[in-house]
């Protein structure tokens, strides 16, 4: 009786072992081994280590002692943190809305029949593809001082020049504008692909049912791209919160800390103030914020 059970178990084990040794398992495992190793070394291990750092008071040059949740409590008591959180949220929200409106509008235009459509599509992708540094240099030139292009236009209309980069509100506005400019092409491209994959016959059916253009946009196009839109907004949210280049390159988080988002704050703590513990804690809070957002948006998608 017992022996029979044993052999049964043994053969089940052998089957499982054979499955693991089968080429269907071994071949992909070998193919993935280098990448998985890389992911472990560059992402997984540092992440665990970073998590530990967030509970220490280490410096860049000297590892520190365990301090419990002191970094987190300290962080949550700092106005600078709450300011960064608020700025990150505003930055992400404005970026998503701006990119979506601009991206959808241009995608709809690009979908129409016109000469040179392919060329326009490529040209509209350029802001996305040029190096972040280049885009910041070009924008800075337009807003840098009282005789920069924007101010020339303002004075042309009789306004007073604005010091865009030294006024907090204006700096926030400009950094958001630049971010939208840099990321709308991805939105446009993806929405264009989504629009082009909508079955033409749906529009024909709507037209036969007597729908106007606006109605068919509202009743055919939007529902068809809804899911993809949610996914895109999710990606945009994540990428906005993770963005370092735009705020840092434009004004290094300034003036004061007006354009300092969570990532810039974490960078500051670590590499300017030499406080690895606070930097790690800040970056983990960023991760938690992101995860909460992703969770929320995915729930939203599932519900619909």
């Amino acid at each position: 009786m017992n022996a029979a059970l044993d052999t049964k178990e043994a053969s089940a084990w052998r089957i499982r072992a054979r499955q693991f040794l089968a080429p269907e398992f071994v071949t992909p495992a070998i193919l993935l081994a280098p990448s998985i190793l890389l992911l472990l070394v560059v992402i997984a291990y540092p992440m665990l280590q970073g998590f530990y750092f967030s509970f220490t008071d280490g410096l860049l040059m000297k590892s520190g002692d365990f301090v419990g949740i002191a970094n987190y409590t300290k962080l949550l008591s700092q106005p600078a943190f709450w300011h960064s959180l608020r700025f990150s949220a505003i930055f992400a929200a404005c970026n998503i809305v701006g990119c979506y409106l601009l991206g959808l509008g241009l995608a709809l235009l690009l979908q129409m029949d016109m000469p040179g459509r392919g060329a326009f599509r490529v040209l509209l992708l350029l802001p996305w593809i040029v190096p972040s540094l280049v885009s910041i240099v070009s924008w800075r030139w337009m807003v840098n001082d009282e005789r920069a292009l924007f101010n020339q236009i303002i004075t042309l209309f009789g306004g007073d020049p604005i010091f865009f980069l030294s006024d907090s509100n204006w700096a926030v506005t400009i950094v958001i504008l630049i971010k939208i400019w840099r990321s709308f092409p991805f939105m446009m491209l993806s929405l264009l692909a989504a629009l082009q994959s909508i079955d033409r016959s749906l529009y024909e059916a709507a037209a036969i049912d007597g729908a106007t253009r606006w109605q068919s946009f509202w009743n055919v196009t939007l529902p068809q791209i809804k899911n993809i839109s949610i996914v895109l907004c999710l990606l945009m949210t994540i990428w906005s919160v993770n963005d370092f280049d735009t705020p840092w390159l434009l004004a290094q988080g300034g003036p004061a800390n007006a354009t300092e988002n969570l990532v810039v704050l974490a960078y500051r703590y670590t590499f300017a103030r030499n406080d690895v513990g606070m930097g790690a804690a800040t970056s983990f809070i960023t991760l938690f914020v992101l995860m909460a957002l992703v969770f929320f948006l995915l729930r939203l998608q599932r519900r619909s």
Binding site: E24, F25, T27, P28, L31, L32, P34, S35, L38, L39, V41, V42, I43, P46, Q49, G50, F53, L60, L109, L110, D113, M114, P115, F120, L123, L124, L126, P127, V130, P131, S132, L133, V134, S135, V137, S138, W139, W141, L149, F186, A193, A194, L232, L235, W239, N242, F244, D245, L249, V263, A266, Y267, T270, F271, V276, G279, S283, T286, L287, L290
Partner: protein, 275 residues
């Protein structure tokens, strides 16, 4: 074609041309102004320069610009080699096999795509320093290879997906082993797609600022974005040189992008949206 649609089409094209011009205005103005000396720029501030000179570009020879350029090429080519190798292996595995490990790997790629890289950078900095990787292209190449991984893997996979399995099976029967079938049949057929994958990997690495800014802290090691950023902080008024450097930096990006732009939907959709 009726006159009506004719005007509509060209009207639309005109509108799009204006939009494209406005959207790209910052870059255009930068490129135009790089052809004026700083004195001219500061003196006139015309939108369209009155006279052109290459003085700024000649001036770059006295700056570390070409050191930065060399560093950028080393870093980008290294990261491209790694990324593409990983993309071919991983993309092929994802395209041809199904099992738990592959599902987990896909999820991991998706997570990397959204991962706040700062999280890894702080510990990596401390990890790399004793190894002497700070201020060395090695650190940046390693991190770029990982950052590029999701996009290039998805893109490579979408190419392998277009190659029917039966072609490989036919090759197996004709006398190939698995590896030979891959090299003789799959790789030649996915050639153009993989070329595009390589160029994208190169572009991403060449354009990247944040990671390089953390790891490359001395002027000898800096890539173009980091080097020019330093320049921008220090000589914020030398607009002529700055714009020339930025324009020159942008040039390879634009040229390469024109080669691969028709592949981009593949990658963006495969990565961002399907994933």
């Amino acid at each position: 074609m009726t006159n009506d649609t004719f005007f509509k089409r060209w009207g639309l094209a005109g509108l799009m041309a204006v939009i494209c011009l406005l959207v790209n205005l910052p870059i255009i103005l930068m490129a135009l102004n790089s052809l004026q000396t700083t004195e001219q720029i500061l003196a006139s501030r015309n939108i369209i320069p009155a006279s052109f000179s290459l003085a700024n570009y000649q001036g770059l020879t006295n700056t570390p610009f070409f050191t930065y350029l060399r560093n950028s090429l080393v870093v980008s080519l290294g990261a491209t080699a790694f990324s593409v190798t990983a993309a071919i292996l991983g993309g092929y595995a994802l395209s041809r096999f199904r099992n738990g490990l592959l599902n987990a790997y896909s999820t991991a790629l998706f997570a990397v795509q959204m991962f706040p890289i700062i999280l890894a950078l702080i510990p990596l900095f401390l990890l790399f320093r004793p190894l002497g990787f700070i201020n060395s292209p090695v650190s940046v190449i390693i991190v770029y290879s990982v950052v590029n991984l999701p996009f290039v893997t998805w893109m490579a996979r979408s190419y392998f997906d277009t190659i029917p399995r039966e072609l490989e099976e036919a090759a197996l029967i004709d006398g190939c082993g698995h590896i030979e079938a891959f090299f003789r049949i799959v790789l030649p057929l996915s050639g153009p797609g993989l070329a595009a994958v390589s160029i994208f990997a190169f572009l991403f690495s060449y354009n990247e600022f944040f990671v390089a800014n953390v790891f490359l802290r001395n002027a000898e090691a800096m890539t173009l974005p980091v080097g020019i950023q330093m320049f921008m902080q220090q000589f914020s008024t030398d607009w002529g040189s700055l714009m020339a450097a930025a324009t020159l930096t942008m040039l390879p990006t634009l040229v390469l992008f024109l080669f691969v732009q028709k592949f981009i939907t593949h990658g963006a959709m495969a990565g961002g949206v399907k994933g």
